[in-house]
Amino acid sequence: MSKEKIGVYICHCGSNIAGTVDVAEVSRWAGEALKDRGVVVSRDYKFMCSSLGQELIQKDIKEQGLTRVVVAACSPHLHEQTFRNACKEGGLNPYLCELVSIREQCSWIHPDKAVGTEKAKAIVSGGVEKVIWDEPLEPLRVPINPVTLVVGGGIAGIQAALEVANAGYPVIMVEREPSIGGHMAQFDKTFPTLDCSACILTPRMVEVGSHPNVKLFSYAEVTNVSGYVGNFQVTIKQKARSVNTDLCTGCGICQEKCPKKVIDPVFEAGLGYRKAVYTPFPQAVPKYPVIDRENCTYFLKGTCRACEKFCPTGAIDFTQEDEYFTFDVGQIILATGWDLFDARRIPQYGYGRLANVFTSLEFERLTNAAGPTGGKVVLRDGVTVPKSVAIVHCVGSRDQNYNPYCSAICCMQSLKFAHLVHERTGAEVYNFYLEMRTPAKGYEEFYQRVLEEGTHFIRGKVAEITDAARYPGEEGKLIVQAENTLIGKQMRVPVDMVILSAALEPRRDFKEVARLFGISCSEEGWLIERHPKLDPVATMTEGIYIAGCAQGPKDIPASVAQGAAAAARVIGKIQQKQITMEPIRASIDQEKCSGCRICNNMCPFNAITFIEDRMVSEVNPALCQGCGTCVAACPAGAISGTVFSDQAILAQLDGLLLNNLKTLDLTPA
């Protein structure tokens, strides 16, 4: 017989629970059958999470002197905090309240009401047994470091960094490439307004580069992350630029004089050249070039040094080595972006075999006034202006063989391409689409505009792109074969140029990124948000946020919105000055510990240290996150987690199984 006075509250959750669980019966049963376990009051209510429902609990705490509370409702993910707060307001320590789920784990999965009701009783009984073991706890408070790390210098990262920096807090930005700017810097025009991408992006880049609150590392990567929210330690690897940034003025003479020309696979998407010493584009931020050691003649053969000879300030430094910096940061925003689908994976589209098949990124460079052709739309021979162009949507997206998802931007991007081809060449344009998706502000209007410009829209998936002429008039052309599903006929369209709107894919190294920062990613590799609707920029790891295409394909406005949203979350946390942490911690029973040290290496937060003179391990409660890994790993059973002690878990199991076994029949009627 327990000395505690326990209140049990069963939620209907509208019909979510009451539909398949007889809540009145569960409540009646708990009041009678669990009386000798200390249950003094048992009620059911339509919505326990409503303020009336919460007041019900508070009233009972005051009038009946409850010492423990069990709420049977939804998953603790949703409302544990709600009911803990309600108890706290009612004068009970919040950790003496147990929320057990009879919705996700019961009513939603059992169509049979009798079974659902019996199982709900078992779950309630388990909750009652566990709550007896609960102890009053006080939440821990730790100070938060106001420095924020932003990983990725594309438009999402830039937006996030500026928001935080403008609020007056320090930001460290890390970018892998020599310059920030991301994919947006590669574009000429942006849909649907067709404003110049560089004109709206470069002022932001300059602002980041010169902001007193932003410390920018370009040509750098994060190599290590440890700690926890408010108190992370990060290691940044600054790759050797071979250029002394204290002396370099960014005059560009080194690039001019460098005799080694190489294809630029990153910024020019393989369609243009750069030098071995380079900045990716003239407006690069920072302005300092880097030497690509894999291609530099000096690093390959030991001679040349042309850049060094001509540099007016003596900034070239061939002896530079990679440097590692360690910083303490409070929170982290990941805006690592996307990679383009490799169109060679669809061989029947001929990319890589047929010269005049281009990818979307190649075409972006082709139309860019600062690109390899100065913005002239020409075929791969560099001179011929195409008279007809086919644009293929959904290449590698919405395709079970490659990526099942929609890449979100391709329809609008393809419409933009159609417009630019019309404008620059006057060519006939054929857009092969599956469905037209133009759902945002001004997008449908842009579609109308492109329709009126005379673009041919053919609804159907392209079967193949070939140079094998079948009929007269097809010689020397690329023939796009597709079924026009609106008229139910096969079509062969001979064109001069084909543009493949290739899918947006997660960064190729998404697995390493997820592991490094301790967050999870979807099957495809997109980083996973805490909640797809209500918490799209936080992750399941406290203090780590995601923004932009790292989370999933999206266009520039959505990336900017996410960058700002992540920044708002970060600023909100900083302004709290300290972070309240769950007091769930592991502790080691010194009597039982054998000193085997198995737990030492298991701890992901390095919270366990071995005390040499006493030959036992000890948990540092400031570092422990209560994950429970050590508790499960300890062969002597010497480690226990507050709230989740072995006794409490076994008692809950007893409640679930033993107390009810006689009444529990889970075979459907």
């Binding site: 669809i346 061989p347 029947q348 001929g350 075999r353 193949e464 070939t466 140079d467 094998a468 002429a469 079948r470």
Partner: protein, 322 residues
């Protein structure tokens, strides 16, 4: 390596050159073929659409017969239609217990049984490039096919559809194994965009003009790419492109001349084997002008007219054609 071998009906008749050349290169490639005992028709391309269970039972009988051979679990079919049928039946029986049960009811009438997935069904090209390997083949080449422009032609059935857990041994839309093999043999291989397009199958028997159009595209494509000959791996493709080339030319009033040989014949030639021993000379579109480029002499095919025996009775006279 030892394999069960399912020749199928065409390799006994119209595609005998395929069979002869496959057997000729087996020894130098270190392959041993054991012909499936008492095999029957695979059902070709039509039967499956007429009566599913009966057609699978017909195919499964071959699998059951082949499974009797205990020394190998690999079943090789050189004909693409046979290969696809055997592979489909094998995969579907493994996936669907109910189909397997029905088929086994039929097989039981003949005292046979088969469990889906027991055998691994493979095409001859697959085992040559993947089991023997390009390097081992390259080591045997004594007379490289230098200067010969070839169009590799796979047809539709060898790589499509993707079946079972392991899919196909080559890309279903744009296969490349035969390209690589022919390069190893020393030939100049054109990047043939029509390599996996339809040869027409049995369309010549159903709708002549449709069949001829499908054949024309392929022959025209190979001619446009200045190929000396088409190399194929399917008796059906060879039959359509070779035997119907004349009729197609007559239909469209064209003068294409594009010989069509089997890849096994090309391997034999590169290994320095005698053309006649590889069945070269039995094709209808003369391959000699093409093969002269690589110094292969093909003896004039002797037309043997069998004289009727003395005791023979006279043939009835036929009405004269208009």
């Amino acid at each position: 390596m030892k394999y069960s071998y399912f020749p199928g009906c065409s390799l006994e008749r119209n595609a005998s050159a395929y069979h002869v050349s496959a057997m000729a290169i087996a020894e130098p490639l270190g392959m041993e073929f054991v012909e499936v005992e008492d095999w029957n028709c695979c059902g070709a391309t039509e039967y499956v659409s007429l009566n599913l269970i009966a057609s699978y039972a017909l195919i499964a009988r071959n699998l059951a017969q082949a499974a009797k051979e205990t020394s190998t679990k690999q079943l090789v079919a050189p004909c693409s239609a046979c290969y696809l049928n055997l592979k489909k039946c094998n995969a579907y029986m493994e996936e669907s217990p109910s189909l397997e049960e029905k088929i086994n009811l039929a097989l039981a009438a003949g005292g046979l049984s088969y469990k889906g997935g027991t055998l691994k069904v493979r095409h001859l090209l697959d085992v040559i490039v993947n089991d023997v390997g390009y390097e081992a083949i390259a080591a045997k080449v004594t007379k490289p096919l230098k200067g010969l422009r070839v169009a590799p032609y796979y047809g539709c059935m060898i790589v499509r559809p993707k079946l079972g857990k392991n899919g196909t041994f080559d890309n279903p839309e744009y296969p490349t194994t035969l390209d690589k093999l022919l390069k190893v043999l020393g030939a100049t291989v054109i990047d043939f965009p029509l390599k996996a397009h339809c040869c027409g199958g049995h369309m010549t028997q159903i709708s002549e003009s449709t069949g001829f159009e499908l054949i024309r595209r392929l022959i025209k494509g190979a001619t446009d790419y200045k190929a000396d000959l088409i190399v194929t791996l399917c008796p059906m493709c060879q039959l359509n492109l070779d035997a119907f080339q004349g009729a197609m030319n007559a239909h469209f009033n064209t003068t294409y001349h594009m010989p069509v040989l089997y890849f096994t014949q090309m391997i034999g030639l590169a290994f320095g084997m005698d053309a006649a021993s590889l069945g070269i000379g039995t094709e209808l579109v003369d391959a000699r002008p093409a093969l002269e480029k690589i110094g292969v002499e093909v003896p004039e095919a002797e037309i043997v007219v069998k004289k009727p025996p003395k005791e023979a009775l006279p043939m009835p006279s036929m009405p004269e054609e208009k």
